[in-house]
Symmetry: C2
Subunit: 187 residues, 2 copies
Amino acid sequence: MPDFRRQVPEGDNRERRVCAECGFIDYENPKVVVGSVVAAGDAVLMCRRGIEPRRGFWTLPAGYLELGETLQEGAAREAWEEAQAVIELEGILAVFSIARIGQVQVIFRAQFAGTGAPTFAAGQESLDVRLFSWDDIPWSEIAFPSVRWALNAWRSGSAVPLGLPAGNPADDPRGTGPMMRPETEGL
Amino acid sequence: MPDFRRQVPEGDNRERRVCAECGFIDYENPKVVVGSVVAAGDAVLMCRRGIEPRRGFWTLPAGYLELGETLQEGAAREAWEEAQAVIELEGILAVFSIARIGQVQVIFRAQFAGTGAPTFAAGQESLDVRLFSWDDIPWSEIAFPSVRWALNAWRSGSAVPLGLPAGNPADDPRGTGPMMRPETEGL
């Protein structure tokens, strides 16, 4: 393993982990978790975790956003990977900061795609996947506080159209359209 | 520098950069940019960039979220660092994915704190900081497309209350309150 020491790199103003052997700077950044509350009528899709932490507890289909993905792509991928569900996103339901563990969570409101009966199944990292009506949600076996927060946000806002926040403009959904000039490096 | 090779670590399903010398896995994750549209009446606060990329072009007070910060803390810090402005956040105005460069941007709607005349000044990374009324915004000298998107979102939504998305519950604004059990590691 690398021989990391904490020091302030040149031109920076914070201590970072720097490898004493090779000089590699390990910039530790907050991570983005993306997920969704997928509803079918008054029931929501939940996954029983097959991996640690919190194996056996119930969560929403969610996980780390990967490099090169939009938030929407990440939410759809996680619903497929964890619940074998093809979903249609309606908009952003909640944005949480979990500062203690360096996470930002973006939770969408979603439905099952298509017009037939919802189809889903346990993905590789899930022990079980089910649709729960509100009163049947296993509240005492929820994996993480933010799952509860997201469910409450869904419950209190489920009749409200999701207007703001704005997302990417329709002609540039991945932030890579013609408006993006070569020299541009984001904000 | 480390001798990185691309390979799939055990238990993973994607190629990562792994140091051939010490085995360090460099998980590259999307980065979070946080900023705000700070308004005083019908004017918005903008900063002329003093650093590359896009030195000399106009942007919003925004930058990378740091580890251990909430989104709200990061937005307030950036407004202070880049524009010496103390701000009050109203809510999330826009969430952008810039997939090509691995960014998620969360932009707040904000006002200057306090009741007096707005005070601001160029911070270390800014050449100039000004309040522009809509028609005076230097549209041909905007640093990044997402600055334009955020300004447009502000313009079209500035009369609308920012309801959803939900944020952290009031009793746990940093995601570290008593609901958070020791074994919890986020979603």
